[in-house]
Subunit: 280 residues, 4 copies
């Protein structure tokens, strides 16, 4: 299956402003890319990329004063299959976790493990370890929080989401991540493109989503506490300790977001040929 | 000047527990070491070290059930001079900051830049940029917070410290770090050994301290919002985004801290000879 | 398409010996895994993993004296399509290369860029830049070297391969990597599983291969100077500056390799079900 | 003791050329800096810095066509004492080496461990392990090679130096590094400023030098196979697997080095005051 995805964002800044973006498909999926424009900017300015502490590709540029637009368009090959379920996946004994993984057991800006530890153990202490425990956490989070864009608040933490019982996909992910860490299951926050492929169209469509990953059976496995079902065509952009680390766009100084458009949809091969022909 | 420093900590854990410690002098000071025991454990168990995301050396071990003691003793060469003041040190223009430094402008578990940004700009927006601005932040934090061990609370954040107006050295550092980041000055949390060398003995002595570093003139410079004067013989152990990242000792599962002893004192060469002779 | 792949290696060491192995599918492909045994050892011993400088997962263990076997078996989902050709892919202008990529322009143990630079420029200086130039290098290497297992020599460098005109897949990759770097195209050595899927059975079958990657259009793209045609089902294990960095198995002290078996073959879903059932 | 050090290099390039330099004192010594100009360029152009795989600060710039000069001047605090000798320092048992250290046991461009292993074991297999073995390697290298600038050849490897019995400080370091690695002692190549402080003036003075470090007693310790005596005032710039990784200046494309001046000398406090006054 071919999936076309991309974005167009417009900002306005009062003065030249350093910005970083995490919006390209994670480079580990490079081999599946069939088409990708470079990031286009209007007005045209240079940008550079670097790899951050967590292995993500970050785009960095100095936005000129005034209005500014960035965009990209790409096509990726996908199996078209729903994400697999590994019910037998085990937690590693703690003493066998790789060193690199331990940081994903610690607290972070939006995941206050210190405040949620007792709650986590009382809720999940008797669930089966491994995949089943993570699924139990997803089920809990999915039931405990009510989803709604009107509830979005960028400073909301996992503990606040737990108490307020509302949130957007970011809050679902933060709460699930924090609860996993409390249970000594390494967990990291992830985001990327996820369209309504193979599911009924969402009344509140949003092709950019947050989800999370846990470390089971010696590798990172994907979970999604908001949708809480296996999905087709998830395209990871970035991963971090929480949302702090992987902003879609972050400016060092104020900016106004004027437009934000994202697309993720199945296409057929002729569309890919067209795209290639146009840019050749 | 020779400084002897070290620690002895005893824990009790109910079952075998994975632990990590950051207690060795930061390896960047290796060239100044004159003597160092390996970490001793009682009962004797193996431990390994690794380098974390922030460049610190972390010791990792699997503490057996029951009582457990770790200790180390070391001697380091020091200039014996108070820390220099670089009043002319400049902030880099944001677009010239190295990529690696940008993470130290983001929020973190105990440093909610999102909540403190307006406060920071109203307090420090008109101070001179560079060293002077960081000093103004230290002066503010040192005056705004009242120090006291009775105020220690491990979950306290920078914003909470700002509101509660009390704290320990960790809170002083967190608030200063958060305010610097709000002003777009990269700042990181640090801790280590700091004894009463060249200063009147502290009525509340504590040879283990938290402070912070900011990125000026292309390098990291040390500030200490609690003591707020240049000190002699600061021995850095670790640095991170905040205290989350560099616990003296962290167990993945509950532990009881039974004793914690730290020493940092000037010695003369004969003591060093004695130490060497005893362990040869 | 489902591909089953795996390995079984037996060693003999005279005394307990530290070993590292790079034999697991690269973790960036985790999402495509459908089944994976942990590494099994006989006799059973503990092993740990870590991530090396180049982002590979390395398995580390202390092999006991005597005979020792390691093995693993896995199934991965693959598109079943031949690798795409991106004839339009461009080299980045040098001043726009990410910092992280520059190391892949330097010389390394088996890729003496200093000795091959003039040769490279005289051969490829007038070829079209980008994909075409890399393809020209592959065509040259593929024609210049004669393949044969009897020519294997672990100390052979790219320059020596150029002069001797013989080699195994490792030498093809080293020479192509060195020539790309001479032309200022970042190139890294890679290895992994590659079976005869969609190609006539090889008279000299070997399901473990070396190839290389170059940095074009902002991402790493795969080339294979030995086979020099797009292949199906390449499973990357590791990447590095050259073969030094990514040994299948390396012992710190002598070892004798007694058996080495590798498999890579298309399977159907029922085989996967069988494998899962057996280990559940 | 205050040491003033710095450099001035002039290049000529025919067309705009990407360059990287490793010439700043290693940032781990930041705390000892008392004065440092930024890198000055003539004509003035922007430069950026980044941290490489080995923890060094690399300066990167795009040199304009024509003549081009870079320079810097700095003052650092030093204990003024000769480097300590740790005769009791032990090699870690191999299975206790940190993961990060293992790469410094592998071969590299100029250190062919595969070719030197038998030689190393025949020469040093019966020497005492630890500090004594490394010292034996230094003694051997220092005696085996004849030093002379007329012998400089940038492509010379450790094995070639062993056979040719001549070299410059770089060759002394490469041979010692390769021999240590053969003996399973982690070793890395280092370079930096080293003036004739506390030693008779060198008839062939050169204030920029290569040396090496080995991992003993859980930290990196400095050895210098060329001078082979403890020195005063060594200022490390960079470290790597060998000289490939840490060029003073490397251009991606040809350059002509027109002048290269380095200084390293003890100064007194009044000179420091003068320098500061002039740039304030």
């Amino acid at each position: 299956m071919l999936i076309r995805y991309g974005y167009e964002m417009s900002f306005s800044v009062a003065q030249p402003t350093l910005m970083v973006c995490l919006l390209d498909a994670h480079r580990e999926q490079s081999r599946l890319l069939r088409y990708e424009t470079p990031m286009l900017t209007s007005p045209a300015i240079p940008s550079t990329t670097y790899t951050d502490l967590y292995g993500n590709t970050v785009r960095r540029f100095f936005a000129p004063a005034g209005d500014f637009t960035i965009s990209s368009d790409a096509v990726i090959e996908d199996s078209g299959l729903p994400e697999p379920i590994f019910e037998e996946a085990r937690e590693a004994p703690l003493d066998q976790l790789p060193n690199e993984v331990l940081v994903y057991l610690l607290g972070s800006r939006y995941c206050e493990t210190d405040k949620l530890s007792e709650i986590a153990w009382s809720l999940f202490g008797s669930t089966p370890r491994g995949w089943g425990r993570v699924q139990a956490i997803c089920d809990f989070v999915c039931g405990h929080l009510t989803f709604g864009y009107q509830y979005a608040r960028p400073t909301r933490t996992a503990f606040e989401a737990y108490e307020e019982r509302v949130g957007v996909c970011r809050d679902f992910a933060h709460l699930a991540v924090a609860l996993c860490r409390c249970m000594n299951i390494p967990a990291r926050y992830a985001n990327g493109f996820l369209g309504d492929i193979g599911v009924p169209p969402d009344p509140a469509p949003m092709d950019y989503n947050a989800w999370f990953e846990v470390y089971l059976d010696g590798r990172w496995m994907t979970f999604d506490a908001r949708h809480n079902i296996p999905r087709i065509g998830r395209i990871t952009v970035a991963r971090g300790r929480d949302a702090t680390d992987i902003p879609l766009a972050h400016s060092f100084g104020p900016h106004v977001l004027k437009t934000f458009r994202v697309w993720t949809e199945e296409i057929d091969a002729s569309v890919l040929q067209d795209l290639k022909r146009r840019t050749a």
